[in-house]
C-alpha cells in the first residue's frame, strides 16, 4: 500500500523522532510513505490569525501537490492536518486560493496516521506484528485539539471521545486508562506568547493523567509532545516537585512493540526521561 506523506516543519526538527518512528512502523506494515516533493509550510496558526486567504493559500499549494500524486495524504502533525483539512473544505466550497495557479480536484483523503493505521490495519494485523507486548504499561492516550476539532473540518465521527490511539495501544497489549481529558487543550498554541497560561493547562493534564492511574501519556501531535515533554521541570506539583511522566508518540510505542532497533535513539531525543519506565518493565 502506498500513500502520500506530508511531514510538516516540526517533523524535520523538534519532532524528528515522530517522523523516524512513523517511517519505521510504516515499513513493518508494508506501507509506503511517498513524501510530497517540495512541500512547504501549511501556514499553521500564524496564518489563520493573520489572514483567511493566506491560511487557505499556503495550505492549498500542498493540496495541489497531493492532487498530482493522486494518493491519500497522511499528515502526522495535528496542526498541519487541521489546516490542510480546512483548506480542503474551503476549496471544495469554491474559495479560490491566491497566488496558486494550478487546478485542484481533491480526489484524495487527508488522514491522521493514527486513524489511518487503525482503519486500514486494525487489531489483527497490529497485534500480529507485536514481538514485545506492552501489557505492563498503563498509558492514557491524549489527542489534544486539532486531530478531531472541529468535526465539520476534520470529519471526525467521535470528536469528544476519539479512539484510534486507544485501540492501537490496546492491540499492542497496553492497559490503557480511561480519562476525561483526552481532547482538552494543552495550550501548545500559547506556549511561546503566554507561557504561564500554557503551564496551567499542562499541569491540569498531568494531574488528571496521574489521577487516572497512568504511568505515561501517548500522543499523536508534535505540539502536544513538545509542550508536555519539555516543560515538566517548569510545572511543579502542589508539593513543589517536578512531574516525571514520559510522553510517547503512538508510533514510538508501535515501534517498541514491533521490536524496532531504533527505539532508544528516538527516546534519547525526549527531554523528559522516557526509558526507565520501559526498562523496569523489561521492554528495553
Amino acid at each position: 500500500m502506498k500513500v502520500s506523506y506530508y511531514p510538516g516543519c516540526s517533523l524535520e526538527g523538534t519532532a524528528r523522532e515522530y517522523d523516524e518512528s512513523l517511517k519505521a512502523v510504516a515499513r513493518s506494515l508494508d506501507l509506503e510513505l511517498a513524501e510530497l516533493p517540495d512541500w512547504t509550510c501549511c501556514g499553521s496558526s500564524s496564518a489563520h490569525v493573520t489572514s483567511d486567504q493566506l491560511a487557505i493559500s499556503l495550505a492549498a499549494r500542498n493540496l495541489i501537490l497531493a492532487d498530482k500524486a493522486g494518493l491519500d495524504l497522511l499528515v502526522p502533525c495535528a496542526a498541519c492536518f487541521q489546516r490542510l483539512k480546512a483548506a480542503e473544505k474551503a476549496l471544495k466550497s469554491g474559495v479560490k486560493p491566491e497566488g496558486v495557479k494550478e487546478k485542484y480536484t481533491g480526489n484524495f483523503k487527508i488522514i491522521h496516521p493514527a486513524d489511518f493505521i487503525w482503519e486500514q490495519f486494525g487489531e489483527k494485523v497490529i497485534a500480529g506484528r507485536v514481538k514485545k507486548s506492552l501489557e505492563k504499561l498503563n498509558p492514557v492516550c491524549y489527542y489534544g485539539c486539532l486531530i478531531t476539532r472541529p468535526p465539520r473540518i476534520t470529519d471526525s465521527t467521535n470528536p469528544e471521545d476519539p479512539q484510534s490511539m486507544d485501540e492501537i495501544m490496546k492491540a499492542l497489549g497496553a492497559s490503557v486508562k480511561n480519562w476525561s481529558f483526552k481532547t482538552d487543550c494543552c495550550g501548545g498554541n500559547l506556549v511561546l506568547t503566554h507561557t504561564e497560561l500554557a503551564r496551567k493547562l499542562i499541569k491540569k493534564l498531568f494531574d488528571m493523567a496521574l489521577e487516572a492511574g497512568a504511568d505515561s501519556i501517548v500522543v499523536g501531535c508534535p505540539m502536544c509532545h513538545s509542550n508536555l515533554d519539555t516543560r515538566q521541570k517548569e510545572v511543579l506539583q502542589d508539593n513543589g516537585q517536578a512531574y516525571h511522566i514520559p510522553i510517547y508518540y503512538f508510533s514510538e510505542m508501535m515501534g517498541l512493540a514491533f521490536g524496532e532497533m531504533a527505539v532508544e535513539k528516538w527516546l534519547n531525543k525526549h527531554l523528559t526521561e522516557a526509558k526507565s519506565l520501559l526498562k523496569q518493565n523489561n521492554l528495553l
Binding site: C9, S10, E12, G13, T14, A15, R16, D38, W39, T40, C41, G43, S44, S45, S46, A47, H48, V49, T50, S51, D52, Q53, L54, S57, L58, R61, Q82, P97, E98, G99, V100, C145, L146, R149, P150, P151, R152, P159, E160, T183, D184, C185, G187, G188, N189, L190, L192, T193, H194, L197, K200, L201, T230, N268, K269, H270, L271
Partner: protein
Amino acid sequence: MSSTKTPAESSSPVNIQVAELTELKDLNISACYQCEKCTNGCPLTFAMDIMPHQVIHNLQLGLVEDVVNSDTIWVCASCETCTTRCPNEIDIAHVMDKLRQLSIRRGVKSAHKQAPVFHNTFLSSVRRFGRMHELTMAVEYSLRSEGVKGLRRQMGLGLEMMRRGKMKIIPGRWRAGKEVDDIFRTIKRT
C-alpha cells in the same frame, strides 16, 4: 494608533465600525441565543476579561471596540472546543481569528503585543525559507519580543534541544520558496 490603516479606515471612527462590521457580517453571529456552551467548555476562561458568549453578544450589539481590545482574543488558544459544541454552528474560533486580524491592523495592546510579533516572525520564516525553521524563528522571536533577556531565558531549553538533535541547525532552501513568496506577494497586493 497604528500607522497601517487604510485611508478609508482613518477618515472617521464611524467608518472604522462600518468596515469592521462588514468583515464580521458572514459569521452567523445573530444565530446565538446565549446558551453559554462556548464559555462553559472553554479551557481558558480563567484568563479572559470577556467570556466567549459575551464576545458574541457584544458583536450582536455592534460593540466591536470592546472585543477587539479585549484580552480574550489573545488568550484564546484556538482549541476549537467552542466551535465544535455551538448548537447554532457559529464558528466562534474563527470569530476570534477575525477579531485578532482587526486587532493586528489597529495595533495590539501592549499586554499581548508579543502575540503578533510571534505570528509575524513565524510567517517571515515561512516566506524566507518556504518552511518554518524552528531554530532561527525561536531566536528571532525571543530577540524581537524581549531582546537579549528573552533570548537568555529561552537559551537553556534551546541548547538542550540542540544537544538531543531536536533542532535542524541550517535552514534548507527549497525551489518552492519562490512559489510561497508569490502567495505572500499576491495576498499583500489584494
